[in-house]
Amino acid sequence: MTDALLAVDRLSKSYATRAGTIKAIDEISFTVRPGEFLSIVGPSGCGKTTLLMLLAGLLPVSGGTVRVRGLEVRGTPPNMAIVFQDYSRSLFPWLTNERNVALALHGARLSKAEARDRTYKALAEVGLTGFERIYPWQLSGGMQQRVAIARALVVSPEVLLMDEPFASVDAQTRATLEDLLLEVWRQSKTTIVFVTHDIDEAVYLSDRVVVLSKGPSHVVTEIQDELPRPRDQIVTKEEPLFAKLRGEVFGLVMGARRHAAEERRS
């Protein structure tokens, strides 16, 4: 356990509603190693986003702990960055792309020149050189999500949390962004926790896939993903191992859904 960068231990989350307490997350435990690409998948409505918000310290936990390098998370720690699903609401439309990215450096007390350098470098890493001075809403959806990724990368985070980041873009753009993310990950050696409902995407990107059950969600299993790297949208997806892993995860996710349905009936 000592080599874990991110350690989630018996994490629980309940909501108080008028109908009583609803348990969304039930004692989830897993660890993430430094430099690892971990995906979290599960049936829709299983609390994946809630889990990510807990990891980010943006929601109070009901039980258990989230630790980054041994320190309990209370509010997003400085070595963590988040990319949200909805870029149109996580980027600020009144700020140019440059200023959106630079906002992440606000607390870093850098000189103006250095902040500008890092901002331009982060935008260059996601292929947005030349788009610094315009606004996010002047870009396509995929390019807006690149701005969001640049804003996350600019602080050189040790942990990058991503909440279904490519769910609102078209298929071609998604493939491009997946490969961009893999390249950025390879170069920055950051650790990525990637929440998605897309099983192909999880298998294509990850070192390890955590499968969650339907809510109240717990970890059904973890699957090692030893597809060779660098991965390629065509070659990797034609590997027999890809099909096998995909089938395995798919079965688990569907099983989790069926299991939950049976539980409700009994």
């Binding site: 606000h106 607390g107 002047q138």
Partner: protein, 282 residues
């Protein structure tokens, strides 16, 4: 107020026709009504309704003069329009300051809003003109009275809209800001205030209209100078052309203020106007 730009004989037909046609489309009804007025109310036809040409002539002659030393305005303008404009400016500025300031506090601090909400609803629902008698008693027939009434009446729309603007901040944006570890002041200036600004501007625009109404109304009843005072004085001395000229003045003033406000708004909220225009693409 439309000035044609001189065009060379070889200007493209489409280019030089497009603008006049658009302008014509926008003003033809106004022109028709003015001409109809002129034809209907000939001199001597009605004491109360002078011909439009007489009204517009009096309007120009009474308020404006071709003298740079006078800043192109008449003494009549100096003694009546200037006090009115000062009252309007003071009253509206006070309303904007209180409305935005208190609105931000109440929008952020929920318990205070819950506590003050009934009072705000009451204040907003009370027609401000109903306060005129009490304001006159408290302030007397002074400019402070006019300013106070304008301020009291036009604060509410700014206040309500500011509160609403602050409270409708998108939860995802709040999370994004928190994940960036913005401090309180950075959050306020970079996220909260810009996010609320479209609604703050909407409130300011409504309050500007209310302020103009209250300026005139308060001067109709209690003032020794001002545009409203000119209207009442002209009416009681049977100089209806002068009364109409003051009415035209207020109308033009309203148009100008709205236009100026629109220019400022378009500049400050460029991101809002342009981003919503381009919304929809993925």
């Amino acid at each position: 107020m439309v000035t044609g730009r001189p065009l060379g004989p070889r200007a493209a037909a489409r280019g030089w026709l497009e603008r006049p046609i658009r302008v014509l489309g926008a003003i033809w009804l106004a022109v028709v009504l003015l001409v109809a007025w002129e034809l209907k109310f000939r001199p001597g036809e009605s004491v109360f309704m002078p011909p439009m040409s007489a009204i517009l002539g009096a309007f120009v002659q009474q308020w404006f003069v071709l003298d740079p030393g006078q800043l192109f305005v008449t003494d009549h303008f100096q003694t009546n329009a200037v006090p009115s404009l000062l009252r309007l400016a003071q009253g509206w500025t006070i309303a904007a300051a209180i409305g935005i300031g208190a609105g931000l506090v109440l929008g952020i601090w929920r318990p205070a809003l819950a506590f003050l909400n009934p009072l705000i609803r009451f204040g907003m629902s009370t027609p401000s003109t109903a306060l005129l008698p009490i304001v006159i008693v408290v302030f007397g027939i002074t400019s402070s009275m006019n300013v106070a009434l304008i301020a009291m009446g036009s604060t509410w729309s700014v206040l309500i809209n500011t509160i609403d603007g602050v409270r409708s901040l998108d939860p995802t944006m709040i999370n994004a800001a928190r994940s960036l570890r913005l401090g309180r002041s950075a959050f306020f200036w970079r996220v909260l205030l810009p996010s609320a600004s479209p609604q703050i501007f909407a409130g300011l625009r409504i309050s500007l209209g209310i302020a103009l109404i209250l300026m005139v109304v308060s001067e109709l009843y209690a003032a020794t100078s001002g545009i409203g005072h000119v209207m009442v004085f002209a009416k009681t001395t049977f100089r209806f052309v002068d009364m109409w000229s003051a009415i035209v003045f207020v109308g033009v003033l309203g148009l100008l203020l709205n236009g100026l406000f629109g220019l400022v708004e378009a500049r400050v909220l460029r991101w809002k106007l342009e981003s919503s225009r381009g919304a929809g693409g993925s």
